[in-house]
Every structure is written in C-alpha cells, then in structure tokens.
C-alpha cells in the first residue's frame, strides 16, 4: 500500500498524528486522523488545518502575463490589483473546462496559478501551448511549494498569535508575504470549506515548523474526507465530478466566473445549449452518492455527481446535473438509492450558512 506514492513535505507529520493515508491523485495523504465528522465540525465551529501541498502551482511572468491569462482563463485577471486573487477556470475549445483554478496577482507582471493535483500535467501542457509566441514565461513551481489551509471561524485568531503582521486588514481574496513563527510565508485569505481562513504557502523545508506551530496552538488536523464534505456543504465543485472537459460552466451556478471578454474557446462555450443544469439536492431520507440516477415521476432526469450526508444538517446533500426544465429551485424530484426512488428537493447551494467569524 502507498508504494510509489508521492509524499508531501508534511508526510511525517501526518503519520505522527495517526493520519490514515490513502492515494489521492498519486499522493499519499490522510483521509482522516480521527473522524471525518469531528474534523468537519472542528472546521465549522473552531479551526482546522489541511495539507494541500499536492495542489499544483504555476507562475506566469512577463510583460504579456496579463494578456495571456485574460485569454486562457474565464474570469478577468485585469480586475486584480497586486495582492488580490480570484477563482477562475481554464476553458477548452469544446465548451468544457480544463480545470478550475485560483489566480493570485503576486506582482506587477507576476501571477500565481494554483491548480488541481490531478490536472497538473494536463494544465501545464494546455497553458504551455497557449503561451507559444507570447511575451510570457511559465514556471511549474509545484514542487517548490508546500501549501496548508487553515480554515474555520478561529483561523484569524490562531494565525495572529504566530505573526506580527496585523491580519484584521487582510480581506477575503487578499494575498501577501509575511513571517509566521520566524518563517517567511505567503498567505491568502482563501479556502475550499466556505469558512473564513487562510491558505499558507511555504518552502517544503519550512512546512513542518509552521504545521507543528499551528497544531500546538490547538488547531485540529483535518483530512481529505472532511475537505470533501466541507466543500460539498459549501456547494463548491470538485473537478472530475461536477466539472470536466465536457461540462459547460454556463450551465452551473458558477456562470458568474465567465466575464465578457475574448477568451480561448469562447465560440464553443457560447454555442452550446444547457440541456442540463448543475443543481443542489437535499434529501430528508437516504444518502445520495456519485452516480446515483435522478428521477422525475419515475423517468430519468439526471445524475448525482457528488453526495454525502451533511455532518451539519444530518441530511443527504448532493450536487448533480438535472434536466434543464426540472432544475428550478424547489422542484420535487427523486434520487434512486439502491433501486428505490427517494424524494429530493432542488436547492441553490450552499447547503448551510457559512463564513461566521469568532
């Protein structure tokens, strides 16, 4: 087990904390330390810490960096001042999504692009091809960075105790460099849980010291299991599930990402019609799982792309694609759970109230 898996710089920390290691996109990472439910609730009510060093990091530099990213991504990086970040996507030329990403403007002519671990090679090839002939330099810095996510209502309080920089003025989607426990880091007020929090970039060598300082400060280590249930409660998509090379973001609640400017693949993106829409589903009984059919009056109406029992609501929640005419908020549909049609109501995510601060 786990032979040949890549290890993050925090691998030994996970073992010390009793993390149950699994293979995620070729990386050995903890699915949980004690219990997915406990780790989930720690993030919602207190503060938790994730190792997300498996994520890919690309730098885009040069006089043509902005023009290049305006062409390659669906959101508009022209809106980013230095020290600001935005959620975005890479489009293909078939009306689909190569990856969903985060773009940070780290300098006047420098951007940091964080991509999904499973897509690093694909994204790199895609961006390299689009960069040909442009005044832009790409660097794959995926192995040069460790990345932690400190998430939860007490995130600011905990991190503030470890740095002299005032964090109260660091707004959502802001990014800056500072010193934490004597270690130079880049932080961003971003995350994938729906809670307030910070993502912390360090060198691989410095990562364990920062991780240990946060754990010693009382932060709950949280694994991939809680990361998935938290993002699902927040209604965030996971690439490979809700978003793929064949899914059109115009037909999802993330259509806001697409800004009115020239971009790669725009014609195909706009030519496609939305026969199905991505919606949230809530069930009073039964737990929806990926691949389960969505039904309307017994007839096929769509399919679940991610589902679980919400640890907060203690109800089944799911994201899924549903036939366009049935995708209205409040629509009463069914999800087929082991041969039985159980009621499911269409809702607009998030499934829970998010983002309180302590």
């Amino acid at each position: 087990m786990l032979v040949g898996m890549k290890r993050t710089p925090l691998y030994d920390e996970h073992l010390k904390l009793g993390g149950r290691m699994v293979d995620f996109a070729g990386w050995a990472l903890p699915v949980q330390y004690t219990s997915i439910t406990k780790e989930h609730l720690a993030v919602r009510e207190d503060v938790g810490l994730f190792d997300v060093s498996h994520m890919g990091e690309f730098f885009v530099r040069g006089p043509g960096a902005l023009d290049f990213l305006r062409w390659a991504t669906l959101n508009d990086p022209a809106r980013l001042k230095v020290g600001r970040a935005q959620y975005s996507m890479l489009s293909n030329d078939r009306g689909g999504v190569v990856d969903d990403i985060y773009v940070y403007r780290t300098g006047v002519e420098e951007y940091l692009v964080v991509v999904n671990a499973a897509n690093v090679a694909k994204d790199w090839a895609h961006l390299s091809r689009l960069a040909e002939g442009r005044e832009v330099e790409l660097e794959d810095a995926s192995y040069a960075w460790a990345l932690m996510a400190l998430q939860g209502p007490r995130a600011e309080e905990v991190l503030q105790a470890l740095t002299d920089t005032d964090l109260a003025g660091v707004r959502k989607n802001a990014t800056l460099t500072l010193t934490v426990v004597g270690v130079p880091v880049r932080i961003a007020r971003t995350g994938y849980t729906g809670e307030d929090g910070f993502e912390i970039f360090t060198t691989p060598e410095d990562a364990p010291a920062v991780w240990r300082a946060l754990i010693e400060a009382g932060v709950t280590p949280a694994g991939l299991g809680a990361r998935d249930t938290l993002r699902l409660e927040a209604g965030f998509p996971l690439y490979g599930h809700e978003l793929t090379d064949a899914t059109n973001p115009r037909c999802t609640p993330l259509a806001w990402v697409i800004k009115d400017k020239p971009y790669y693949g725009r014609e195909a993106m706009e030519a496609a019609t939305c026969d199905e829409r991505l919606v949230g589903l809530v069930m009073e009984r039964g737990i929806p799982r990926e691949g389960y059919p969505v039904l309307s009056g017994g007839a096929p109406a769509g399919r679940v792309t991610s589902g679980t029992q919400s640890p907060l609501l203690k109800k089944g929640i799911a994201l899924g694609w549903v036939r366009e005419d049935l995708a209205e908020e409040g629509a009463e549909l069914d999800v087929e759970v082991r041969g039985r049609a159980l009621p499911a109501r269409v809702v607009r995510p998030p499934f829970v109230l998010l983002g309180k601060k302590k």
């Binding site: 949980q32 998935d228 737990i287 029992q309």
Partner: protein
C-alpha cells in the same frame, strides 16, 4: 485490531456468533474502522430468506455505502432496531450493541465453515 475468539468471521469482514439456534451478525472492528463514521444502516426485512454471501444490508459512512453479506444461508428473524437512532453503535461497539441482524440458519453446520479468529486475522493483515 480487536478480533474476539468467541465467534467466526467472513473474508468480507462480517462476524457471526451463535445465540441458541440463531446466528447473530455484525461487522468487525477492522470493518467499522475502515468505513469511518457510520451515519445510516439499512437492515433487511424480518422474514427474508437469504443465501450465504447475499448482500442483505448496507452500512453507510460519511464517505461511502458498503454492502453487508449474509455469512450463512437462512431466514432473517430479528434486526437491531436501535441502529435507526444510533447508527454510531456500529463504530463504538461493533461486537455487541452494534450487531446488525440475526439469522435462523438453514444448515446448522454452515457456521463451522466460517473463518476462526486466527484465519480472519490473516485476512485483516493482508488488507492492512
């Protein structure tokens, strides 16, 4: 990993324990630990006739839904109603309060063909 010697096991991680002329069935400590937090248990109908190895129940954790197989053929005569309100009993006490269902076996000798604790320990070792 706790593997009591007072009962027998299957390679699919159920345990079976004689109680009078019945067989009580649950999942092993290893199984509950692998599944993680159990949030729902779907139990068979009382009176259902089952084959050995037939999927008869489902234990759902936060992460996944897992089929539970009948260790022996027979008739389901009782199910653990307490799990409807407290599915977490499967995690907290898998060998006692977290039992799933009881079978009246079609063949009383079928139980003897299941794995003993030592045999099951090898299965667990291979999967760990």
């Amino acid at each position: 990993m706790n593997i009591p010697e007072d009962r027998r096991y299957t390679a699919s991680h159920e345990w079976a324990k004689p109680e009078g002329n019945l067989i009580v069935v649950g999942i092993s400590d290893f199984a509950q630990d692998s599944l993680g937090d159990v949030v729902f248990v779907e139990l068979p109908e009382v009176g259902r006739e089952v084959e050995a190895g037939e999927a008869v129940a489902v234990v759902e954790s936060v992460k996944t839904a897992s089929d539970i197989y009948a260790p022996v053929a027979g008739t389901v005569v009782e199910v653990n109603e307490a799990l409807a309100d407290e599915p977490e009993l499967v995690n907290g006490d898998p060998y006692n309060a977290g039992w799933l269902f009881k079978i009246e076996p079609a063949d009383a000798s079928a139980y003897e063909k299941l794995l003993d604790a030592a045999g099951y320990a090898k299965v667990v070792e291979e999967e760990s």
